[in-house]
């Protein structure tokens, strides 16, 4: 269980997050949605510790992630995997090397053990045949699937997705969402920052709608989309759906 309490974060004069409180239960798929600049990506990055909060806490099963307590902080964040909008695959490493590196350097596995896990997960995202390609030779959708496999290689309990399909050509979005959907069906706890309303509605359990750095509305997915309560959410939904 992830618990975010009284989280505040600013970039210079801009208040990106204002007193955020949020609980994410095990096995839940939570979609963070909202207009750009609403703070949804910042919230996602704060949960993993990529951004250091100004005040407030993030805890995992009751253990607070304190960046000053480095050993503990690193131990806790290892329970989470992170997927970036721009993939961030290691450009000088092949697909299989991307998957192996942290397993060997961080988890202390042998190369054979790492390779076995990597191939297993690459097969799950349907890219085991690309094992020796460099990232530059892959399409956007393939890159993102490798990035998901790479994160899964570290055996996380929670997966954080920061706009995983926003940098993709439209025809590649589905292949990535399919992988994520299957992951959710296997019981993975997921936090997904997304503009894919169809995904948030059908796959996500719950929607957290942010605007101006605040949580404006929080509800189960079906309820949120069919019956938004706040004006801002209604306004937002009327703009993203074209009918």
């Amino acid at each position: 269980m992830i618990k975010v309490e009284h989280l505040n974060k600013s970039f210079g004069a801009l208040k990106a997050l204002k007193d955020i409180n949020l609980t994410i239960h095990d096995g839940e798929i939570v979609s963070l949605i909202g207009p750009s600049g609403s703070g949804k990506s910042t919230l996602c990055r704060c949960i993993h510790g990529l951004e250091k909060p100004e005040s407030g806490t993030i805890s995992l099963d009751g253990e607070v992630m304190d960046p000053k307590d480095k050993a503990n902080f690193e131990r806790l964040r290892k329970r989470m995997g992170f997927v970036f909008q721009h993939f961030n695959l290691f450009a000088n490493k092949t697909v299989i090397e991307n998957c192996n590196l942290a397993q060997i350097a961080v988890a202390g596995k042998t190369k054979e053990e790492a390779e076995k896990t990597s191939m297993d997960l690459l097969a799950r995202v349907g890219l085991d045949d690309k094992r020796d390609e460099y990232p530059s030779k892959l399409s956007g959708g393939q890159k993102q699937r490798v990035a998901i496999a790479r994160a899964l290689c570290m055996n996380p309990e929670i997966m954080l997705f920061d706009e995983p399909t926003s940098a993709l050509d439209p025809e590649m979005i589905k292949e990535v969402l399919d992988v994520m959907k299957r992951l959710g069906e296997q019981g993975m706890t997921m936090v997904v920052v997304t503009h894919e309303m169809g995904f948030a509605r059908k796959v996500g359990d719950r929607v957290v709608f942010l605007d101006g750095g605040e949580i404006v509305e929080e509800n189960n997915s079906e309820e949120f989309f069919s019956n938004p309560k706040s004006d801002r959410a209604r306004d937002f939904l009327s703009k993203v759906f074209y009918d």
């Binding site: 989470m80 995997g81 970036f84 721009h86 961030n88 450009a91 961080v106 990232p135 570290m154």
Partner: protein, 223 residues
């Protein structure tokens, strides 16, 4: 042409060229190690480390190379004697290598720093989310990508080093230029040995340019 180009004299010049090349390679390699260390210093969070790296770079970039060579050869032994009271015999080849390395290290510090900073910040973030240490990230991901970006200026640096190694002739190391001067003095003819030395420098530098183009093409596989 003349009897100056005997086989013996040609070998003498070639040996000088060999020393020039060896000193330049040594300077490049040691300078590279220095460059990595001080580039890490320049990018460090510690103000002291940043300051040390900046002072080092400014001193070696901001004073003439010839002064540095003379300082290491003539100045340092005096300093040594003042401190320890014993004499120190300076070997011109070793001193020359040290001077070249320190000088090149300053230039390579800036090159490597700019290379590291040109690597996409997302690579660091990916490493962070996977729990990979700073050291492993540097070794496995950042430095290999940084070096690929800076191959062209590094090649220029190598070519500069081959030419700058001629400054070591001033302290009596028999590298290529000094070899030419020795022959010139012996035969009262400086023209031919100097032209030959020039041709030999050109052969080395043009070969390096050609080699670097080949390497760059091979490294392009992950682009």
């Amino acid at each position: 042409m003349k009897d100056i180009f005997t086989q013996e004299n040609l070998l003498f010049m070639l040996k000088g060229a060999g020393w020039s090349l060896l000193l330049a390679i040594g300077g490049l390699v040691i300078g590279c190690v220095i460059g990595i260390v001080f580039a890490a210093g320049k990018l460090s969070r510690s103000r002291l480390l940043r300051w040390i790296a900046t002072v080092y770079v400014e001193i070696f970039r901001g004073t003439p190379m010839l002064l540095q060579v003379l300082f290491f050869y003539l100045g340092v032994p005096v300093l040594y004697q003042r401190i320890t009271g014993t004499r120190m015999a300076a070997n011109p080849y070793i001193v020359g290598l040290i001077a070249l390395s320190c000088n090149s290290g300053a230039y390579q510090t800036e090159l490597i720093r700019s290379g590291i900073q040109s690597v996409d910040r997302g690579q660091w973030e990916a490493g962070e989310t996977l729990g990979i240490s700073y050291r492993t990230m540097m070794q496995e991901i950042i430095l290999p990508q940084a070096f690929k970006l800076i191959i062209p200026p590094l090649v220029s640096e190598f070519i500069t080093l081959i030419k700058d190694s001629s400054l070591i002739s001033n302290i009596g190391a028999l590298e290529l230029l000094y070899s030419a001067q020795v022959l010139g003095k012996r035969y009262y003819d400086y023209l031919d040995p100097l032209i030959l030395a020039g041709i030999m420098y050109l052969c080395m530098t043009v070969f390096i340019s050609w080699l670097s183009r080949k390497v760059e093409r091979r490294m392009a596989v992950s682009d």
